[in-house]
Symmetry: C2
Subunit: 343 residues, 2 copies
Amino acid sequence: MALKQIRNMEEFAAVSGISRPTLSKYFNDPDSVRRSTRERIELALTQYDYRPNVYAVNQNRRKTRNIGVVVPNLADPFFSEIGREVELACIAAGYSPILLSSHGNPTQERDNLELLRSLKPAGVLLAPFGRISDRDDIASFNKHIPVVLFDANIEDACEAFVGTNNFQSIDLMVEYLCRSGEPPCLFEMKSPTNPNANKRRQAYLESMQRHGFQPHIFQAEGDGWNFEEIGSAEGGRFISQNAFATNTVLCSNDRLAIGVLSAAYRLGKKVGRGPDCALRIAGHDDHPFSRFTCPSLTTIAQDYSAIANRAASTLFRVLDTDERPAERAETLFNGNLVMRDSA
Amino acid sequence: MALKQIRNMEEFAAVSGISRPTLSKYFNDPDSVRRSTRERIELALTQYDYRPNVYAVNQNRRKTRNIGVVVPNLADPFFSEIGREVELACIAAGYSPILLSSHGNPTQERDNLELLRSLKPAGVLLAPFGRISDRDDIASFNKHIPVVLFDANIEDACEAFVGTNNFQSIDLMVEYLCRSGEPPCLFEMKSPTNPNANKRRQAYLESMQRHGFQPHIFQAEGDGWNFEEIGSAEGGRFISQNAFATNTVLCSNDRLAIGVLSAAYRLGKKVGRGPDCALRIAGHDDHPFSRFTCPSLTTIAQDYSAIANRAASTLFRVLDTDERPAERAETLFNGNLVMRDSA
DNA sequence: GCATTTAGTTTACGCGCGTAAATTTTTTAT
DNA sequence: ATAAAAAATTTACGCGCGTAAACTAAATGC
């Protein structure tokens, strides 16, 4: 087995009988060498435990084969899932993904970009917080390295954006709710960290107007990422004060909705479509747990697989052509209504 | 500002007026140079945008300042949280953490170790699946690189283990449940992926015996990490068949409990301590969502902050002394009972 | 079978930094 | 002030690999 410990490509060239430059070509692209040569190399690889020193490999190359993937918060299952999809897409394309979480903290996002700067990635897939304060950092980063945004858009920044069409998805939900019962009011954060929330509010207003109903917006005080907590506290407050304008509450995202559902349960208000129900509650995002809330949550499923793969392939195209695209593309995927028991 | 683009340490030496070897010392340990020199360097750093090329830095060094952190599944909030704590501990100690998720897949765990092998980390903090099949891979990996296990133990493998004392935590819960109502039966996976589940079963049996009650174990069919789904389907089956031996169900972990709670709701069985309740349900782990289940979940909180920090500091000690510890240490932290409304 | 194309070999240099040895400068102790 | 200690500088080499140039061997086309 381990006939001899191979220390570097030179030694591997000696034992495999292939010259070092050819080996170098092989490791950069196995298909760039003749098949017979490739087989000889791969035979030798089974006999000797050698693999190129990543640090030496990346030292000279201006662009590595690394791709940075930055998401706002891996503790949020949505980003955990979409991050995973992006990783897989990168691996499939022969890149090495480096998944970084900003842990709900814009400062950490800057730190992550700073870290990536020194890792010289070929490109970056970034789901930004989208606050104005980040804009300059991201633009400055983008000067040197191609960046494709996903999930949250920053107007006119970076090579492209891929996300969900909130206007379509919210309209879909509003339409359903209006058709099946009282028109919904909207429950959201007062100062949302995510620009999608603003899009959704806008979409709600337009959609309600289109359907000829009076919109009602209820905003929760609170900061940070404890959406369930905020939804539970503030939603509970609105419920117990009978403040919601209608019996139907559309929450800006599932995590808020999960909080509101827990508050409703605590307050003894039955949630659902039945005649004995006091409230209907809907969400947005199809959070993994929304199937297991009580009752299960009616929501919008984002097509995160499509988003992840499109974002990745958009970046790959930029990397392949090695030039910035003339036009900044914005791709929006439709959401799907997931009907469960809460609305 | 950017007076000149600095390309390497040589050029930075020229503009800063400090010799390259001294700069090298500084970047490896800022305190290894005289204070006045350090201040001159840091002044220059504010004027010029230079930082050492990570790849060149790590190329020669046998041991990098990287620390690999491998968890079974970042989509599971428990690992997301504890992974974060570990990251912070590494950064605080001057190391660069590389957080990798095995995505619920033992093969991926092997791939992650393979990846880490080429990144030459100083050490690794590993939360393993703990299946027997991984043992050899991990042991082989551990031959070259120090590894501290956390969360899940593998007997006699690696430098040390840090986790929760399941015997203490389960006993705490069993004691509470017996004292406050009917003695609990145990609900768990038939073929658990996590060795803690086996510990918890053992602990349950011993604890029930100690309290003089007959133990009852109910096992859910199913594979993978969809614990909520399995808990909901299988738990629902047991509930609707009235199969649980007592009205109190202790679930092996919170995610199963979340599934069982959703099944109970679906079946119209009220859960809680009150006289009108049909079931009491308890969990283990204090999952972030267990506060927002309906009703909120009584559970055991693992001290993951303590676990993460102890695991990290144990590894650092090994790295500092630069020799393997004579004795393999196992550190177990106690769990805390979190009383909520479900039991 | 021969010319042409394609692939591999030899040789050589450079990347950015760690680091050792010898020397000079600066600080500290007496 | 002077000797000793500490720190910085100069010089030089090596790490493992990418890569270019000139050359040689093998595969391909007709």
